[in-house]
């Protein structure tokens, strides 16, 4: 029983491959209007049709290899990148991987319709087998697309996390030779690594003598955060710049004392303004109010 069944499945797969090959043009023309292709390949309709043809070719390749249920079938190889691109584009428009997979499921109806049209003529007995094979194959395509959508999403998240790290740690120029980094949010290891690297890079680029790390926006300072701060200060010093940590709120000062953290190697000031005043004074610059109290000009 087993052997004929297998043989029947194989012949259905082969028949499906032949069907996909012969109807490549029609399927592609109709898929090109489906949102999954139409909204991604926006340059021209021909572009969308070409993309559809590539997918049809891949499906027919997978069908002729008989591995209808295999997500890892080599036949999908050539279109994986394209599917990833489609999935990424759809997820950028706010679609979840599940919704993207549903769109892929919509492609099946078109193919089934064409297959039915075919079945009118020759042997009707085989049509259900081929239909079943087509359903399985389209289900696999759906999984492949979902898989690429998920991995594209993961990649996007990883990239955004890194971008967020960089966006969240701007290095600003406060004065000639004085730079500042306003730190906002939790200072974990990954974050402090980015802070250290961008601060040191800015010291070189702006030829800074003073660097102010403002921790007003850092919610808590534990011994790990203190250690990160001390490392940053030490590295800046090795490059010839003096680091000042400012924005230590009373509550944080208390915590630091309670935890017994030794910040004596770090120069601190209570506010960013104090730190800037210190750095200016060290450069021999004085800031004072004009005697007449008037605004200039």
């Amino acid at each position: 029983m087993h052997v004929p069944e297998r043989a029947a499945a194989d012949s259905a797969a082969r028949e499906l491959a032949a069907f996909l090959e012969s109807r490549r043009e029609q399927i592609a023309q109709r898929w090109a209007d489906a949102p999954l292709f139409r909204t991604v390949f926006t340059v021209s309709r021909d572009e969308a049709v070409e993309a559809c043809k590539a997918v049809v070719d891949a499906l027919s390749e997978v069908a002729s290899s008989g591995r209808l249920e295999s997500v890892g079938a080599p036949g999908f190889g050539p279109v994986r990148e394209q599917l990833g691109h489609m999935a990424a584009s759809r997820s950028r428009s706010g679609f979840t991987p599940g919704q993207i997979a549903d769109e892929a499921a919509g492609l099946r109806a078109v193919a089934v319709e064409l297959l039915h049209g075919e079945a009118q003529g020759p042997p009707e007995r085989e049509a259900p087998d081929v239909l079943l094979a087509l359903t399985v194959l389209m289900g696999t395509l759906r999984l492949v697309l979902m898989e690429t959508a998920v991995s594209a999403g993961e990649e996007l998240i990883a990239r955004q996390q890194l971008q967020l790290l960089e966006v969240a740690t701007p290095v600003i120029s406060l004065w000639d030779g004085i730079i500042g980094v306003p730190l906002i949010g939790t200072l974990d290891s990954a974050r402090s690594q980015v802070v250290m690297e961008s601060l040191l890079q800015a010291i070189v680029e702006q030829r800074a003598r003073y660097a102010i790390l403002d921790i007003t926006g850092v919610p808590t300072v534990d011994s790990l955060v203190a250690q990160h701060l001390m490392k940053t200060v030490a590295a800046a010093r090795l490059m010839g710049a003096e680091c000042i940590v400012s924005g230590i709120r009373p509550a944080i000062a208390q915590t630091i004392v309670h935890l017994g953290i030794d910040l004596s190697s770090v120069l601190t000031r209570s506010s960013l303004a104090d730190a800037l005043a210190y750095a200016l004074a060290r450069q021999g610059i004085e800031v004072f109010r004009r005697a007449d109290g008037a605004s200039p000009r």
Binding site: H85, A88, R92, A152, R159, L162, Q163, E197
Partner: protein, 149 residues
């Protein structure tokens, strides 16, 4: 965990002199750069290699360094082995302490190197020599990957 697939590009380098240390640093730098380590990571791993290779030379009386590039799925890394047949380390835990030294250095060799890599392990037996293994992985950097769109 499945073992990382290792292409047959394991490189062995002898450690017997100052010049060999320089060559080890040079080779580790090249491998790290090829695998896509960023500049800071390259500097860290080359420095760790320098510390460990010097240990092999000074404490182990010479030996060899092995460089294994690691390809684990999309992850890229480097495993370095430093092997000597010297006296071994009597108390590994003590040797891993900052400031502990028998060689007249600053005593930062092992403990310092550990902070520069992702993993460091020591296999040693008094009189049987020492094998120090370190592993470092490339951290994902945003600029390395071309965008999808």
């Amino acid at each position: 965990m499945t073992p990382a697939s290792e292409p047959a590009t394991v490189t062995s380098l002898p450690i017997g002199s100052d010049a060999d240390l320089a060559w080890v640093r040079h080779q580790v730098r090249q491998f790290a750069a090829e695998l896509g380590f960023g500049l800071v990571q390259q500097t860290k791993i080359v420095t760790a290699a320098s510390e460990l290779a010097r240990n092999t030379l000074v404490h182990g009386g010479g030996g060899q360094a092995q460089i294994h590039p690691l390809h684990h799925g999309p992850a890229r890394g480097l495993r370095l082995l430093f092997t000597d047949t010297g006296p071994g380390i009597r108390d590994v835990e003590l040797a891993m302490t900052d400031g502990y030294t028998t060689g007249g250095g600053l005593g930062l060799g092992l403990s310092g190197a550990k902070r520069l890599v992702d993993e460091l392990s020591v296999e040693t037996e008094p009189g049987q020599g020492t094998v120090v293994t370190v592993v470092a992985w490339v951290t994902r950097a945003p600029a390395v990957r071309p965008g999808l769109g």
